[in-house]
Symmetry: C2
Subunit: 331 residues, 2 copies
């Protein structure tokens, strides 16, 4: 499928199609739309010479890569990209607002076969530009509700939050603190809502003073932990929105001379490899990060000519009980 083919079908000349692809301004809106639609329908790809073929590249775009959490995703994407001989291009946005205006042009210039966005937004404009160049893409753990027609991959965060909180309730805890991730992120909100749902189902009142928010990193767990433990009536258990936050809570507890789980039970979320080596080994909600990454990669790289309609997939989470939880001291 070359520029000439598209031009013929659109009833325009090759140069005009070239201009549309390169985002030149001097094209009539109606023409641009007609050409973009054909480009998309035929899955046009630039070929940089006689028989270049696809570049064999997936773009993996993070907002931050401070947590080992990101590495799990990298491992998953790398492994499935390798299976089909593709390379993985990593970039870091440092901004949850999503990729900038010229991002699509940059990745198109390197002939990327598809893009995976992690934890960011995707504007309608970026979405349209990707579609015009038929670069498939998926959002993992989107920040906010993605626009209609955007495929996404996540985990059953609500269920995870429910299971974690239920576990603490079953051990006999009644004052259970929660330190969530960024409140704007769907995955984070769902975990908090699962926590609330478990409390409400058990007839335990939800105390807003027991709910804090952070950024999924160690520091926010430490700060949130100190805050909750300074309360006049402190919690006997804390559910953290991520394993890193849980590590921060452990640190805060130790600094205050509290033993875990004797004086304070702690539950994390993610089940990073490190959770097993923490002290005490961390009870946490396992989300299959590598599988999520592999699925996103396949969605983006596999032509699957029939099923091009965008999907929203949530993979199952599972509570993993280790040694950081026990009945509260009073019992």
């Amino acid at each position: 499928m070359t520029i000439a083919h598209i031009a013929e079908r659109a009833g325009v000349s090759a140069p005009t199609v070239s201009k549309v692809i390169n985002g030149r301004p001097e094209v009539a809106p109606a023409t641009r739309q007609r050409v973009e639609r054909l480009l998309r329908e035929h899955g046009y790809r630039r070929r940089g010479g006689q028989g270049d073929g696809p570049a064999g590249l997936v773009d993996l775009v993070f907002t931050e890569i401070e947590s080992p959490w990101a590495m799990e995703l990298v491992r998953g994407v790398e492994a499935s990209a390798r299976e089909v001989g593709a390379g993985v291009v990593i970039s870091v946005l440092h901004d949850r607002a999503g990729p900038g205006r010229d991002w699509v042009e940059r990745i198109a210039a390197r002939h990327t076969d598809g893009a995976i966005l992690v934890g960011s937004r995707i504007s309608a404009d970026r979405h349209d530009r990707l579609a015009a160049r038929s670069i498939p893409f998926v959002v993992v753990d989107p920040d906010g509700e993605p626009p209609a027609g955007v495929a996404s991959v996540g985990a059953t965060n609500w269920h995870g939050g429910l299971a974690a909180t239920r576990h603490l309730l079953e051990l006999g805890h009644r004052r259970i603190g929660m330190i969530g991730g960024p409140p704007g992120m769907l995955c984070s909100r769902a975990r908090v809502d699962g926590y609330r749902a478990a409390l409400e189902t058990a007839g335990v009142p939800v105390d807003p003073a027991l709910i804090g928010y952070g950024d999924f990193l160690v520091g926010s767990g430490r700060d949130g932990g100190h805050e909750l433990l300074s309360l006049p009536d402190p919690p006997t258990a804390i559910f953290a929105g991520s394993d890193m936050q849980a590590f921060g809570v452990l640190e805060a507890a130790r600094r205050r001379g509290l033993r875990v789980p004797g004086d304070l039970s702690v539950v994390g979320f993610d089940d990073l490899p490190l959770a097993r080596s923490a002290w005490p080994p961390l009870t946490t909600v396992c989300q299959p990060l590598q599988e999520m990454a592999a699925l996103a990669t396949r969605m983006v790289l596999d032509p699957s000519p029939g099923g091009r309609e965008p999907r929203r997939v949530e993979l199952a989470t599972e509570l993993v009980v280790r040694e950081s939880t026990s009945p509260p001291a009073g019992r």
Copy 2:
């Protein structure tokens, strides 16, 4: 610099140059050599059309990415690549023997601007192929002595091992265990040699039973820790070749009911962000991973027309004393 220019200078036709670049067999050895030399000297890069310019891609090749250690390198490379608008392609070899035969062809096909190899070997064959396509490359923490003419980046590992061991000696320890990384890796051997040098300088005999080797990951620290602590005359301090191994040692100590640093002092190597959040906060040797990565990226991406001769650079390490070390119990 186009194929036509090279052809003119080599006194051959453009198709012949094209054949050399694409590794076609039907070129006389003498011609091939002459063309390859010119290609290299002029830093020829394929341009996939009128004004494609460089692809803006750095290949970052790991043998494994299980440790958060790898993420620090990724962060450093990504940050400096971004400065010059380049993307970072990550791949994982799962083999310390280095990249396979067709690796150079694959990265050349995507027009990579340079390659950074982490912790692997680079064969003379791969080296020659990279040179023929003038793809600059650097090895970070090479496995074994790299061939002559290969640029490398590392840290002052020997000094780090010396400083860590000296610190333990100054605290009064005399039986100091060491759990090193893979004995084949230069960075690992240098740390062990620094340990030996410190002991010898202090007049403390080196006991081979106190030296173990592993793979830089948590598991090998745990296993090595248990082994050392099972000795009839166990060490009062352990120096681990990496922070992850030190975490494993902490785990082994706790499983045996030993307190750190009361019953056992532990020193790591790397100073990962996690070292600060460990319990107790880990005394460790800081190596500037992000700076090492940034330097490697600049070496590979910066044309620096004058200074093309390969360099070997070691960045300084520094002991960071936290709370996992103290005088031995007897004192």
